[in-house]
């Protein structure tokens, strides 16, 4: 009797657990008959109605095919007319646009010059969800003049050759005022249905899309921050495509020639921003030795399993043919690095294994932040590599903005970051934001009047051939002065379930859904 009661107690304890594990087997997953693709993405929307013009919401809505810009970027990072049929520069500050015919908003109304003007004016309205001071600064629009229903003129406050490129920025999308039923009214091949902050983004096909009816009925973008979980979700059949697949897993698939693999170079650069105004890295020879001591190939091998990136020489990847200065090289040459350090008098005089500068041991504090898996291993490999130069390196992870503050105060010497160097395809954004002496993100304290002049000249030059010469020189200055050290350009790797069609990785990482995107079966 005693035994039976013991068993009963034991069994009752396990029932709830077992019921949980066994019960669900009978749960029937009611998949819709519609042709919907589920895509795992690493980041989700920031709110339940993310206006594509605010913050960087447009990056997601552009990828989801909801919002569109007047001008787009193709897969070679070249401009193409998107909502605009044509555009021309009528004076250094004036750009005339003609809208494409038969473009409809998701509520069925036609795209007109008036609605384009209204959409851009909302960027400046502090009480509107579209308020975007970053884009206002980038575009620097003085006035929008309507000529007729399909023609209008943008006038900028100053001559700005980057203006047209800035219009490719996904937040510069043309959006009509939303309603309760249709909170985001764009022009893309897919209509916004719903979003949950940091979780998912749902769309459905827009049959009246100007570029033709989409092959899919809808898209679900699910935010799965952990790449391993996303890979398992693909295997489970819960998602059809993982946009940012784990690099080691991708390398394994590649080795065994399995899986529906996609890979594409992006403009995302992993780089160190250095504190050059004071501290040990005010010494240019030390910065040069550090760059020579970084085995970028090894870092890519260790941090990205050899498949997730290309060692960086300049700030732009070689695939960005319009702007990259191919003459620049950033080789790994430890003998030369040691020679530079010795010649600069940065020697280990007290035999403690650490070189000194001004009588003090060279101690470099390197920091990065969570959010991108490759950052931490890059930091770790860097520590090992720089110790070979006789430098003491301390690494830590922090919060992004706090790291910037620490760099500005000289509390750390190098901040490892990952930025899209040309999200709008124009070369000005990255150096102007980080290296201009007045730039908001110049936490290096770097001040090079020659570079400032060149950057200004580059913004005012409209001839692409002459601009290329200017930005070639800018890249040379960066490679020589090293206020920032490029490490690698990220290659995005994606894996599908074998049924995904019409998917390509865009170098700007801001395009994904198209009418051609499809799934078999």
């Amino acid at each position: 009797m005693k035994k039976r009661s013991l068993r009963a107690i034991l069994a009752s304890g396990f029932i709830a657990f077992a019921a949980g594990m066994v019960g669900p087997v009978s749960i029937n997953f009611a998949y819709s008959q519609e042709k919907v693709i589920t895509i795992a993405v690493p980041f989700g929307p920031k709110s339940s109605v993310p206006d594509p013009r605010a913050r960087q919401n447009g990056w997601l809505s552009n990828r989801a095919g909801v919002s569109e810009t007047l001008v787009g970027l193709d897969y070679e990072m070249k401009m193409f007319p998107r909502l605009a049929e044509s555009y021309r520069n009528i004076s250094p500050t004036q750009w005339e646009f003609t809208l494409r015919e038969n473009v409809k908003f998701h509520d069925g109304s036609p795209l007109t010059s008036e609605l384009v003007k209204d959409s851009f004016q909302k960027l400046n309205d502090k009480d509107h969800a579209a308020y975007n001071p970053r884009l206002i600064k980038l575009l620097n629009i003085k006035e929008i003049t309507i000529k007729d229903e399909r023609t209008f003129v943008f006038e900028t406050n100053e001559p700005n050759s980057a203006f047209i490129w800035s219009l490719t920025e996904p937040t510069a999308s043309v959006i009509k005022e939303g309603t309760e039923k249709l909170p985001i009214i764009g022009t893309g091949p897919f209509v916004f249905v719903s979003a949950e902050a940091e979780k998912n983004y749902h769309t459905k096909a827009f049959a009246d899309y100007w570029g033709g009816k989409p092959k899919l009925d809808g898209i679900v973008m699910d935010a799965i921050s952990d790449a391993s979980v996303a890979a398992l979700a693909l295997r489970a059949g819960d998602v059809d495509l993982v946009t940012n697949y784990s690099e080691p897993d991708f390398a394994a698939l590649e080795k065994s020639n399995q899986g529906q693999r996609f890979e594409g170079a992006t403009t995302r650069l992993f780089f160190y921003q250095l504190r050059t105004a004071d501290g040990p890295l005010a010494n240019k020879e030390l910065r040069q030795a550090i760059s020579l001591g970084l085995d970028r190939g090894l870092i890519v091998e260790a941090a990205l399993a050899g498949v997730g990136g290309d060692p960086a020489h300049s700030i732009f990847p070689v695939t960005m043919k319009s702007w990259v200065n191919k003459a620049i090289e950033a080789p790994y040459d430890i003998s030369k690095a040691l020679e530079i350090l010795d010649n600069a008098g940065l020697k280990d005089t007290n035999d403690d294994g650490i070189r000194e500068i001004d009588g003090e041991n060279i101690v470099l504090k390197l920091r990065s932040y969570e959010g991108r898996p490759a950052l931490k291993p890059t930091l770790e490999v860097t520590q090992a590599l720089l110790s070979k130069l006789g430098l003491k390196v301390e690494i830590s992870m922090g919060e992004y903005q706090a790291n910037n503050d620490a760099l500005k105060l000289g509390e750390i010497q190098m901040h490892l970051q990952a930025w899209g160097t040309a999200p709008q395809g124009d070369p000005d954004y990255f150096p102007s934001t980080l290296l201009d002496s007045k730039a908001g993100y110049n936490f290096s304290g770097y001040n090079n009047p020659k570079l400032d002049v060149l950057l200004e000249k580059g913004r005012g030059e409209f001839d692409p051939v002459k601009r290329k010469v200017i930005y070639d020189e800018i890249q040379e200055i960066i490679a020589e002065d090293l206020p920032l050290i490029p490490v690698f350009h990220k290659t995005q790797v994606s894996v599908g379930n074998g049924k995904v069609k019409g998917y390509r990785i865009h170098p700007a990482e801001t395009y994904l859904a198209s009418p051609e995107l499809d799934i078999e079966g």
Partner: protein
């Protein structure tokens, strides 16, 4: 009863005092956060990755009163908090209380399911383990509590996804929305509850079984079954309730790894996203909630303990 009212009143006063101190400390966390807060708010609210203009930062400085003295800022902040007005998220511009409540529901769903799963096994397992020392069940309970404590939730979560979602395809690998989405995360967290609670309940029971009064009861002829069920279990009940309360409080905020692994919402992942985005109003709301939860549950448990203890009632 008078005695009870007196104890309850003291507890409530001390609870309010602790809450005031916690609120002040929470505010200090924000006040002394490194960096220019106006710039951080500008970045969180409008910019993302980019540079905020000096004018915009200045405008935010004026608008938010960030430069005012500490106590003035705290006064206005506390005034809003008392009215349960936590402001709006700097990023989404949605009311913090609405964001928080929706995430709290998901966390409660996960925490309570895990607690139910874990406890429904931990209680009978511990009882049998102590009732039958050195038996197979006892050894199993010891092994389970040790293994369970040693397995990281992240790893276990991945294993569950690998087995039940990727291979057997019985359950969804991630997400929320149905009972099936809850099973794997609740089991992951439930196993942790099971192991920690089995260890604790077992030790409470073992401690109770060595109490001196048991000898007296034995001499008076009380049977071993009655001794176990009426006296040992009851004696172990008070520390068990204390731990149960704290366990629930921990689960409400400690489920972050499970939430992230299973791409669920919840307070833990909300806190992580908010810290990354420097969304101060949400951070303050969650920190305050955590403190209030711990303090309230602790006080409730203390009152309960007083109620259960005849000796303290006579004082």
């Amino acid at each position: 009863m008078n005695n009870f009212m007196r104890v309850a009143a003291i507890k409530i006063v001390s609870l309010l005092l602790v809450l005031f101190c916690v609120s002040f400390l929470t505010f200090l966390l924000y006040y002394y956060a490194p960096g220019d807060k106006a710039l951080a708010i500008a970045n969180a609210r409008y910019i993302g990755e980019g540079s905020a203009s000096a004018e915009l930062v200045e405008q935010i400085r004026l608008e938010t009163g960030i430069d005012r003295p500490l106590f003035v800022q705290f006064y206005y902040w506390a005034q809003d908090i008392i009215q349960l007005d936590f402001g709006v998220s700097l990023i989404s511009q949605e009311p913090v209380d609405e964001i928080f409540v929706s995430q709290l529901w998901e966390t409660m769903e996960l925490a309570l399911s895990a607690l139910l799963l874990g406890m429904s096994v931990a209680i009978p397992l511990s009882l049998i383990s102590v009732w039958k020392p050195k038996s197979f069940i006892d050894r199993f309970a010891i092994a389970l509590s040790s293994i369970g404590a040693a397995i990281p939730s992240y790893w276990l979560g991945l294993i569950f996804i690998f087995v039940f979602a990727a291979n057997l395809q019985w359950l969804p690998a991630y997400g929320t929305g149905s009972l099936s989405h809850l099973i794997l995360p609740a089991s992951t967290l439930g196993l942790w509850v099971l192991s920690s609670q089995t260890r604790l309940i077992r030790s409470f029971l073992l401690e109770a079984s060595t109490a001196p009064f048991l000898e007296a009861l034995k001499i008076r002829g009380v049977g071993s079954k009655e001794l176990f069920c009426r006296h040992i279990v009851r004696h172990a009940f008070v520390p068990f309730v204390t731990m149960l309360g704290l366990e629930l409080a921990f689960l409400l905020e400690g489920a972050v790894i499970v939430e992230v692994v299973f791409a669920r919402g919840g307070i833990g992942s909300l806190l992580v996203h908010s810290v990354m985005g420097r969304d101060f109003p949400i951070i303050q709301c969650i920190v305050l909630f955590s403190a209030v939860t711990y303090v309230t549950i602790n006080s409730a448990v203390e009152i309960f303990q007083w109620f259960m203890n005849p000796v303290s009632q006579q004082r």
